[in-house]
């Protein structure tokens, strides 16, 4: 399943190593995550669901969905899509006997509805007392997800406290840009990202960017990440912490775990939250079957690790992401059976749609996926037409032959940290869900806490870069850096972004933004 050649990406694989999956040796390459290596080896069932023991597979590839959790070297509940392989690693599946592939308890999924309708265990077997006690004991035995820990992990833990003018959380285009522009005027910046690379979503984007001419359109996403990183590297007042997952903000203290061993505490004067977004999923029968992926998950497999997701895919959603993904799949030599789109017309740009059509992929508008089928992995799907009231047109169901399904139905802001700081939030559908109220300078209702990029509202990389610029400069200025020059650039940056959004594609965003501006503006 590993790609050997690709028209755009040149995969440099690390040294070959052997890892052990439920005792069996599996070939892998350094630089691959455990999940990617297992996927390449043909593993599809990564875990079993908590209660009903349904098979669960790889989904998001960015540590958010928890479906890939396994025991690694005696430590339970490791998200294998976020951990890189090491020679001799022992990996075991969890919540299954004898293993996730062949779990006896899968029978629960077939029987559960008969005994525990809607899964409620509180209202059954309560009398007599002895029966209740017996059943509670049995439930206890079945409860829990991960394996019990076998080892004390062999790591030295550390605790580091540091101070920063501006702490930037997330190293995607939004965060990178914020860090660059705060550092540029002299602020001491710390940039934290959970990955071992910078660039966020850009790293998967092998296509040439759309968007405005002045703003790097025509450049491939992966290259934009490199340009931003090079720019940031010029400043020595920036401390970059990769592989650092921020798990909380306590007051103005940003707390993260670096390299799984160090507790890092950044006492910040300003915070820029640029954590990006999560992939949405869709409700349909068996939407949890291994082989149903998020678009980003498939991109990661293919464009970062050079691993084919399957032989033939069905794409749900015809926005730019769905269209570009289809094109990337074809580039990698993977077939695409069809794209289905619930709306009456294609969501993405015409150029992308035309390209995909030329390559022979049908796009069915006013269609949806009704169900996926297959025992332990996707073996096909059923799609159907929708009428004006979004109901399935009877008799229009048809089977699609495919071995994976890619859900590309949009993103939702990754806003947990905004709740930690207590920022005022609002549901704005145009921006993709719950988003923070913010000033013109992207400061939230919590003074000193800014947002930039998709976490502020789902848009695109160009806008993320521009928002990062504004947040970065504004935070530096309010700390006393930069003087008139900075103020001038800030005005320019605000104007730039307004112009960028003035086009027809910005209409929706502008409409959404109007619903969440904070009146109280910080005067400079």
């Amino acid at each position: 399943m590993r790609l050997e050649s690709h028209p755009i990406v040149d995969f440099k694989r690390g040294k070959e190593v052997t890892i052990y999956f439920n005792g069996q040796p599996v070939k892998a390459y350094e630089g691959e995550t455990i999940a990617a290596a297992l996927y390449a080896a043909g593993v599809r069932v990564f875990s079993r669901s908590f209660r009903f023991h349904r098979p669960r597979g790889f989904f998001c590839a960015i540590g958010k969905c928890s479906q890939c959790m396994m025991e690694v070297d005696g430590v339970p509940n490791i998200r294998t899509c976020k951990v890189y392989v090491r020679d001799g690693m022992q990996i075991r599946t969890q919540n299954a006997k004898p293993d996730a592939e062949n779990d006896y308890f899968a029978i629960i999924d077939k029987l559960i509805d008969r005994f525990f309708p809607h899964g409620s265990h509180y209202k059954k077997f309560n009398s007599p007392r002895l029966l209740r006690e017996f059943m509670t004991k049995q439930m206890r035995k079945m409860a829990g997800f991960g394996n019990v820990p076998r080892n004390v992990p062999d790591v030295n833990t550390e605790y580091e406290v540091m101070e920063a003018d501006v702490a930037v959380i997330g190293g995607g285009p939004g965060g990178l840009s914020a860090a660059i522009h705060a550092a540029k005027y002299g602020a001491k910046v710390v940039l934290l990202d959970e990955n071992n690379y910078l660039g966020g979503q850009l790293i998967k984007q092998t296509h040439r960017f759309f968007g405005s001419g002045r703003h790097k359109a025509g450049t491939r996403g992966i290259r934009i990440a490199e340009i931003l990183e090079e720019e940031l590297m010029q400043y020595d007042n920036v401390d970059i912490r990769k592989e650092t997952k921020v798990f909380g903000i306590y007051g103005m203290d940003v707390a993260g775990v670096q390299n799984n061993s160090k507790l890092l505490r950044v006492k910040a004067r300003k915070i820029v939250i640029a954590t990006g977004a999560y992939e949405r999923t869709l409700i349909f029968e068996n939407n949890d079957l291994p082989g149903v992926y998020g678009a980003g998950g498939v991109q990661t497999l293919m464009n970062v690790f050079g691993i084919k997701p399957g032989n033939k895919g069905l794409i749900v959603g015809s926005g730019n992401v769905g269209l570009i993904l289809t094109y990337q799949l074809l580039q990698a030599g993977v077939d695409v059976a069809a794209i289905v789109e619930a709306m009456p017309r294609i969501g993405g740009y015409f150029v992308h749609a035309a390209k995909v059509r030329r390559l022979g992929v049908p796009i069915y508008t006013r269609h949806t996926i009704v169900k996926a089928f297959g025992e332990k992995k996707v073996e096909g799907a059923v799609i159907a037409q929708l009428d004006e009231r979004w109901n399935v047109v009877e008799g229009s169901e048809r089977e699609i032959e495919c071995d994976f399904i890619c859900v590309a139905v949009g993103l939702s802001p990754a806003h947990e940290l905004l709740y930690h700081v207590g920022a005022e939030m609002k549901f704005v559908p145009e921006l993709g869900g719950m988003v923070p109220l913010r000033t013109r300078f992207n400061e939230t209702s919590v003074k000193g806490v800014y947002v930039a990029g998709d976490v502020a509202g789902i848009e695109e990389a160009t806008a993320a870069i521009m928002e990062g610029r504004i947040a970065g400069i504004h935070s530096a200025i309010t700390l006393g850096y930069g003087g008139d020059e900075a103020k001038k650039e800030l005005d320019e940056a605000v104007k730039d972004l307004e112009e960028f959004r003035a086009g027809p594609f910005g209409e929706r965003i502008v409409c959404g933004l109007e619903k969440c501006v904070l009146e109280s503006e910080v005067m400079l």
Partner: protein, 360 residues
């Protein structure tokens, strides 16, 4: 007779349950939602092995009620009776444990002293070097506090009580022999008003001009991701205040017993996470690899002399039912609620006289 209960925690709801069971007209007011208070935020350790002899009879009685209530209200509290271990990590605290056990035995609790080595019989991965002495009581365990609250609420409703959530009591007025309660712009008349508002009890008392001054205690807890059954008993280290056990869902839950605060505050701190993690991996070293999934805090109250405040007050019809104290509210509340219901119904109940508000 019409009774208002302020606060739908385990204290308010058990009182409401026993009152309504006797046919009394009860209305429960909860400012937010069920589980908002300490009763929805605690770690569910229940044991008669407590340090105040005055409370032991109620703890023993509650242990019995926890066995029978689930059938009565048809709701499983997911009680797991697999023992409770107390640890002492200094010689001085070891003495305290010994004195406690001696006292507990006198009051009919079957607790005993054991060496840290013996603790491994119940928790194989326990590190015996993390303590100098332990005490243990088999007749104890862990309960899931949510179904306790839901189940009691279900029982209340079955007996005709009304539970009003999102209904903060804003004001209380006295009017002859009646008390008038204001909530959500409406007024209600009652013969009795029971103040079971936990950490908010001081505020409620002020509404009728009583200075209660219970201590307000903030306590932080956290859980890890869920694992298969690993820790069965409840473990509480009296020296550091750190406790740890496993929830019904398999999460390793633990915290540090609370500290007095000036005002209600449920924010989480990183200092807690650090202190807790440091100590808990000494107690069970293999927990080191687990990831913390969530942390939160709760508030509860304690009477100035360390005992609950329960009974009639100088304001006619205004009844206190608060100040349950550190790490034992879940243990004593059902029995105290039952006795308080009897006090309200009959006008007297010698068994809870020692908790009378007037003592303070």
């Amino acid at each position: 007779m019409k009774v208002a209960i302020i606060g739908a925690g385990v204290m308010g709801l058990s009182t409401a349950y026993y009152l309504s069971k006797s046919g009394i007209d009860v209305t429960v007011f909860e400012q937010k939602y069920l589980l908002y208070g300490a009763s929805g935020r605690n770690s569910g350790g229940i044991t008669p092995m407590i340090d105040r002899e005055e409370l032991i009879p109620f703890a023993l009685e509650s242990m019995k009620l926890y066995d029978t209530l689930p059938s009565e209200v048809d709701f499983n509290f997911l009680l797991r009776k697999e023992g409770y271990v107390k640890l002492a990590s200094s010689e001085r605290d070891a003495e305290t444990l010994k004195e406690e056990v001696w006292m507990q035995n006198r009051f009919g609790v079957s607790s005993r002293i054991m060496t840290p080595e013996d603790v491994r019989d119940f928790i194989p991965d326990f590190n015996p070097d993390s303590a100098v002495l332990a005490s243990y009581c088999r007749e104890s365990g862990v309960i899931f506090p949510w179904p306790v609250v839901w189940g009691l609420a279900k029982g209340c409703r079955k007996h005709g009580a009304e539970i009003k959530t999102q209904s903060r009591v804003e004001r209380i007025e006295t009017n002859g022999s009646k008390l008038i309660v204001y909530s959500n712009g409406e007024k209600y008349r009652f013969d009795f008003v029971v103040n079971s508002a936990g950490a908010w009890s001081n505020e409620i008392s002020k509404m009728v001009g009583i200075e209660l001054s219970n201590r307000i205690i903030k306590e932080e807890v956290c859980v890890t991701e869920s694992i298969k059954p690993y820790i069965n008993p409840y473990i509480y280290d009296i020296s550091s205040g750190v406790y740890v056990t496993q929830t019904a869902r398999g999460e390793i839950i633990g915290g540090i017993t609370g500290m007095e605060v000036d005002k209600i505050d449920t924010s989480s701190t990183i200092e807690f996470a650090i202190r807790y993690a440091k100590r808990v991996v000494q107690i069970i070293p293999k927990l080191k690899g687990l990831a913390m999934l969530r942390q939160w805090a709760g508030v509860y109250d304690e009477g100035r002399d360390g005992l609950p405040v329960i009974g009639f007050t100088e304001v006619e019809g205004f009844v206190q039912a608060n100040g349950l104290g550190k790490h034992r509210g879940m243990v004593i509340a059902p029995a105290l609620g039952k006795e308080l219901a009897r006090l309200i119904e009959k006008g007297e109940n010698p068994s809870i006289k020692k908790f009378n508000p007037e003592r303070l």
